[in-house]
Symmetry: C4
Subunit: 274 residues, 4 copies
């Protein structure tokens, strides 16, 4: 029994490593994504029957594909160790939820949209890109915290002062924070300002200081990240090549010192004889 | 008496350095900030009683916390030497202002919002970030001055020419500067332009030159700051590692010169004997 | 026969390399572009006759110019090997389509607008610039793909949820992607959000996460390209100068080793004699 | 006669180099600028008398100041050699135009606004900043030309296709270019697009390709300038310090070769004797 299963597993493993198989999977993912997109068009109702068949085919394909991948692993635990595998598993499981005309339809559909994210787990260049993005998250964490503090303070001030002027924009602190985000994106911020200026003529100070602060911190964040990444690059380059040069110099110096010792011995020899 | 006070001071100092104590203070600051934020919601009126108690507790806590820190210093003067301490002291003092239903309520509330800034003085990473921000202020000073001059000239021209077209936007030089800031953020700037173009058809020159000038200077400012920071980094790296290489080379050369002197002596010895 | 043709070809080749000839061609291109631009003014109808003559002159000139360049090549195949030549050929051919009052008029006109792009093929600095732009396209490819995936997922979610609220903005997935592009450019995005917030109060999460994701990826893309270009520059500089230094060091070390061998031989000589 | 004039010139030269004198001039410039700004307020009519006196005082002061500077030069030609001097001269001359209630009033006022630019010629840090800005203009020239070609082509296409839809936005090629600049700044660009989409549904392609092209070129321009400035910095640093290291290495190698020659001579000597 076990040897039969192992033969199957090897076959699956070879299939999984197959370039053609991977290309087919990527094609299916794209078709699946287009299918979901197509459902948003009214006219597609005519193709309903045809779409339903394709939809079931895609769901079955993904189920088989993930089962192959699970079987290809030595132990099931290894499969769940990689983040992308868990992600793929969740998507396939979600696809299996039956599509009744209930509230679940929307949820099931939304979950199936995320299938397109599997392109990222398939294409190596996109994986690298995602890894780089994830790496820069901690660097941005504290800047985001600082930004949040500034937003919070301005939102508190804004909601205290301007709540009576415009309940919709400054009603409470969370609405005020949304309004401030809008101001930070320069989206009709003058309309907001002109409304409050009618009551508090000096309120332009509030808006201008906020815009300068957020722009200033954003600018510094950007420069900080550029420099951070660059420093890491240069350190890595030094380890690869620069250290080599320093080591070369060091070796050269000890060579020269050996020469001196040798000469000193020879000089002593010559002097003794004379 | 003095030894008793010193024992207390040591106890306070140890408390202040305690990780748990600091975490508690940070938690209190966040709760305090949330409290202020909560006051902006209408529904919170129900919890009025409960909020009042928490508010007093926070105020008392901050008072005790700052007194501990003051007592922990050898001399009171040392406490006021650090900017953050002065800042904390001002905030706590402001919190003690009694909350009557007068105009002062608003001011007291606003002052207590700034409590959340104490997070910056508590979290070391935020302190570093703030220090970096403060350091880049002088670099931006002269660019800001240049920008102000350009804004002033354009505002003067704008208010002379367009004041009769739209009193609200170009009424006087300070209103015109605010309008120009709006144009610099691209906020409905075409509406402003189209209005003046009806009288002065050529006025698009005014707007386009202004946009190009401000964008151009902003771009140069950004690049200037990046390069300024980078140059400082590279100078520091040279001091740390590069200088070492140059010194190594220098030492090597003097070693080689010593060798030559030694050889010259030996050659003379040999020639004398022959 | 052949020698007569070759004499003509040499004459054409010399003409083509002539600075004056090139300047004249550039001038004609600019005039041709201005001519096309002038056609968009109503008042130019008065100069119709004059414009028609100039237009024919320009068309004839370009035809002769390209025939000269074709004749100047040893083989016709060589002419079509360079991309710019093909481009120029297509433009000239398109110019020869007769201008009747049919639908083709518009197409012919549009094709002749692209004549102004020949400035790029004429001015060497613009060619360099274009080459640099073309080189940075592959670097941007995968980022664009990642961006497209994010747009697609958000568009699918958006069209499922918000299609009933605003058919014009969220009707189907392609309309939703256009709306998302509008949001990414901050163009009246709050109007879009406020409309959906009336039904789904939490929909601000949808907009804010989208804005953060696209801004975050755009930021990383920009920094990535800067670093990519910089790394290539530094590698090139190492090849030009840095490698020289490393080679110098390497040569120095082998020189020093030769010295040691020589000294060892001398020492043996001395010891043998003593 | 001549010696008396020379004594005066020396006195003027010393006055001009005086820190106090310069500070006074800067103060006068700022007051003069504020004066011009103050004229834009309606209320200032009350101070009319007082303002007129100050205005005359400022005009006289600038006249005297420039005459001192002219007299301080050995030859009048030297004065007009520096750009800033010509600039100052023009401003002072313009200030002398009598202020009647004619059309010239506006021109005279505008010219006097530019007085504030003299701050730039006074403060050395601003002079450096301006020099840096002027230096980066040629780098931007060809990018601007490329940008202009793209704008021109799109404007021609736009005015051909969309002129009938909206005469105000696409009437002729220059109006279309202004509209395209508006689109490049993302200012209500969707309104423009939605209007044309009603006739040409595919016109979103026109807008999106335009936005991508301009954003792409702008991005490359920015990176190009950063790298250009950086390369110049690193070349300068190599000349100052790096070349030193390479020269050191070169010198070291020739030292080692001299050692070898010396050793070869010694070896020959030893061998001859044995």
């Amino acid at each position: 029994m076990s040897s039969v299963f192992e033969a199957w597993r090897d076959r699956f493993e070879r299939l999984r490593a197959n370039k053609l198989f991977e290309t087919a999977v990527i094609a299916i993912i794209i078709i699946s994504a287009l299918l979901i997109g197509a459902k948003t068009y009214e006219e597609t109702n005519r193709f309903q029957q045809w779409l339903l068949v394709l939809d079931v085919a895609v769901t079955v394909f993904f189920l088989v594909e993930i089962l192959i991948r699970m079987a290809a692993e030595r132990r099931l635990r290894d499969f769940f160790r990689r983040g992308w595998n868990i992600f793929d598993f969740l998507i396939v499981t979600a696809s299996l939820i039956p599509l009744d005309d209930s509230e679940m339809v929307l949820l099931a559909r939304l979950l199936r949209i995320f299938r397109v994210l599997r392109l990222v787990s398939m294409i190596p260049e996109l994986r690298l890109l995602m890894a780089a993005l994830v790496k820069s998250i901690p660097r941005m964490g504290y800047v985001a915290l600082l930004m949040f503090i500034i937003f919070y303070i301005y939102a508190a001030i804004g909601s205290f002062l301007f709540a009576d002027i415009d309940e919709f924009l400054w009603g409470n602190i969370s609405i005020a924070m949304l309004t401030l985000f809008r101001i930070a994106t320069f989206e009709d911020w003058t309309d907001v300002m002109y409304a409050t200026q009618e009551v508090y003529a000096w309120s332009w100070i509030y808006y201008l200081t906020f815009i300068f602060l957020t722009a200033f911190i954003f600018l510094n964040m950007m420069i900080g990240i550029v420099l951070d990444v660059m420093q890491k690059e240069s350190v890595q380059m030094e380890i690869e090549s620069g250290e080599g040069e320093a080591a070369e110099l060091h070796g050269l110096r000890s060579d020269v010192r050996e020469l001196r010792d040798q000469l000193t011995r020879m000089e002593a020899l010559l002097e003794r004889r004379s």
